[in-house]
């Protein structure tokens, strides 16, 4: 029998239910692995399950790693920021509470870019997370701690959040599965907000089956505490399909503008070939406004962030500067000391875009581009079931390579920002390995499928069939320590 930590979450949950695996032993096995983390994936690790004893629940007591920005009662919830250092909230986010109630106890909190702003987890006030495939490289971001923890087998599964790609891009760079659900499908209550019209929580898992299982307990009825949440209209079904017969896959003609690395392009084409061999039809489609998505995103997300982050003022929680002469100085100095460089940059960008004289040219135009991107997808989904793209333009890049060049960092999000702007779901699965530009050991490549609103079951089915065909060697079984 495999070591319990080599099982997928769904396999472990089944063994607990059958009585062949003890939930407490499983928790301890992961707890020791997480506590010995040398990737800086965790910012806090639990001593024991928060509801010890009792029934392991439908999720079998399989422990869950949770991104730092989810509020967890009396447990540090810092969103990767110095301004919230040591903050322990008085309540728990709805999605974490739902998963705990279903039998997934909190294993630990995972590292992230500060307030989820970044694509490398280097913007964390608590130091960068390392990619388990190559410790000189980034795990992606902003949910880099969750992705690295799952890839290295420090956690069986995790949740993250995705505003412009922060679940899918780190999942791609770490060789695991990440789903950004339909906007509103998962409650945002208790998520420390970045950009409220784009933020969405989702699973980061070892395989597609685990993603479907975790998602099925993250979504559900509307949360009365989140006015933008919606009831998920379907039962989430575990994927079983082995083929893609009848599946129509659109491949955007606008891919070329994304600066694809040759190795990623080659894996992407090979995966499309696999899809055809499974019975899918792949045809070019057009998303004419996709090349403008990144520009629209980097107006809208910072604009919402500049408003959301006004709450960090040194009054009610978190850091307050010492010795301010008056209230205004207390605000400005607290925010100077507490926020990191990227967060300041986004607050400045967003405040500028919303300021008098610039609002229409930037924020107003970006909102209209958002409408066009949603229309592009709606038109494409009249002909296609799903749209396929690479998840990220390249494989994991070296630590420090892009940290001083914001625009180079933002270009990582080229393929992922379109789905959040349109509010649609998208999944990333590993589709093989490619050598980085400049040489070095081979690294994971992500394959992304986007579908219409509430089409998660279709995405799971398609991703599952491809996953079986790709046969990606799972990283937690010895590829990485």
């Amino acid at each position: 029998m495999n070591a319990p930590t080599e099982l997928t979450a769904a396999q472990a949950a089944r063994r607990v239910a059958e009585g062949s695996l003890d939930a407490a032993e499983l928790f301890d096995a992961y707890r020791s692995r997480a506590a010995a983390d040398t990737l800086n994936a965790f910012t806090w690790v639990a001593q024991e399950p928060r509801a010890p004893g009792g029934n392991p629940g439908v999720l079998g007591g399989v422990p869950l790693a949770v991104k730092d920005l989810f509020c967890t009662e009396d447990v540090p919830s810092q969103s990767g920021s110095r301004i919230l250092e040591g903050y322990r909230p008085p309540y728990t986010a709805t999605v974490v509470a739902r998963l705990e109630a279903a039998g997934a106890p909190l294993l630990g909190k995972t590292n992230q870019d500060e307030f989820a702003m970044g694509s490398s987890t280097e913007n964390s006030a608590f130091g960068p997370t390392l990619n388990p495939w190559d410790r000189s490289r980034v795990p992606g971001g902003s949910s880099g701690g969750s992705a690295a923890a799952v890839a290295a087998g420090l956690a069986p599964w995790a949740i993250g959040t995705d505003t412009g790609g922060s679940i899918r891009q780190p999942a791609a760079l770490c060789g695991v599965v990440g789903l950004r659900p339909t906007y509103g499908a998962v409650s945002r209550f208790g998520m420390i907000a970045f950009a409220s019209s784009l933020d969405q929580a989702g699973p980061i898992t070892r395989d597609v089956t685990d993603a479907a299982l975790l998602f099925s307990w993250m979504t559900g009825p509307r949360d009365p505490c989140d006015a933008t949440s919606v009831a998920f209209p379907h039962a989430v079904v575990p994927p079983t399909r082995g083929d893609l017969a009848g599946m129509r896959i659109g491949v955007p003609e606008e891919l070329g503008a994304g600066g694809l690395e040759p190795g990623v392009a080659e894996r992407f084409e090979a995966t499309l070939e696999l899809a055809r061999s499974l019975g899918a039809v792949t045809e070019p489609c057009t998303l004419p406004h996709a090349p403008h998505a990144l520009a629209a995103y980097y107006v809208l997300a910072p604009a919402e962030a500049s408003s959301n982050l006004a709450r960090f003022d040194g009054v009610r929680y978190g850091h307050r500067c010492a010795g301010a002469a008056d209230l205004l100085e207390m605000y400005t100095q607290t925010r100077h000391d507490g926020f990191g460089a990227e967060v300041k940059r986004r607050i400045m960008l967003g405040t500028f875009a919303l300021s008098s004289g610039y609002y229409d040219a930037y924020y107003g135009r970006a909102q209209r581009v958002r409408t066009l991107i949603a229309r592009d997808f709606a038109a494409a989904f009249e002909r296609f079931d799903v749209i396929a793209t690479p998840t990220a333009p390249g494989v994991a890049f070296p630590l420090g390579a892009k940290v001083d060049d914001p625009m180079a960092m933002y270009l990582n999000d080229y393929f992922t920002v379109t789905a959040p702007l349109a509010g649609i779901p998208a999944i990333s699965i590993p589709c093989g390995l490619a050598a980085p530009v400049g040489g070095g050991p081979q690294l994971p490549v992500g394959f992304q499928l986007a579908g219409p609103r509430f089409s998660e079951n279709r995405l799971f089915e398609a991703a599952f069939a491809l996953e079986q065909a790709v046969g990606f060697e799972p990283p937690w079984r010895g590829v990485v320590e």
């Binding site: 019209s197 933008t228 209230l327 960008l349």
Partner: protein
């Protein structure tokens, strides 16, 4: 294009103190990002409605049932300074 005076003005709006060095760096970095964003100026957006929210949700109401709120001491527990059961701040006019 954004110059150092504009950076200082926007920082004041954002209640953000920036050092001289941060102002210099921010002017360069924001200009590079705004140059990329300027590509949306080329699009013809006449007659296109803005999207502020992707889900059509109207009047998301819940039953108006009284329930306990956060106890005062829990709400104040993380505050940097507390005075007379409230959040204490420096005077606006020291």
């Amino acid at each position: 294009m954004i110059d150092r005076d504009q950076v200082r003005y926007v920082a004041r709006l954002a209640r953000l103190e920036l050092s001289d060095e941060e102002v210099d760096r921010m002017a360069g970095e924001l200009t590079a990002v705004l140059d990329h964003i300027a590509t949306i100026a080329e699009l013809d957006l006449d007659g296109v409605e803005p999207t502020s929210h992707v889900v059509a949700v109207e009047n998301a109401l819940r039953p108006d049932e009284p329930r306990p709120s956060l106890p005062r001491e829990r709400a104040l527990a993380a505050a940097p300074a507390v005075l007379d059961d409230g959040f204490a701040v420096p005077s606006p006019q020291a």
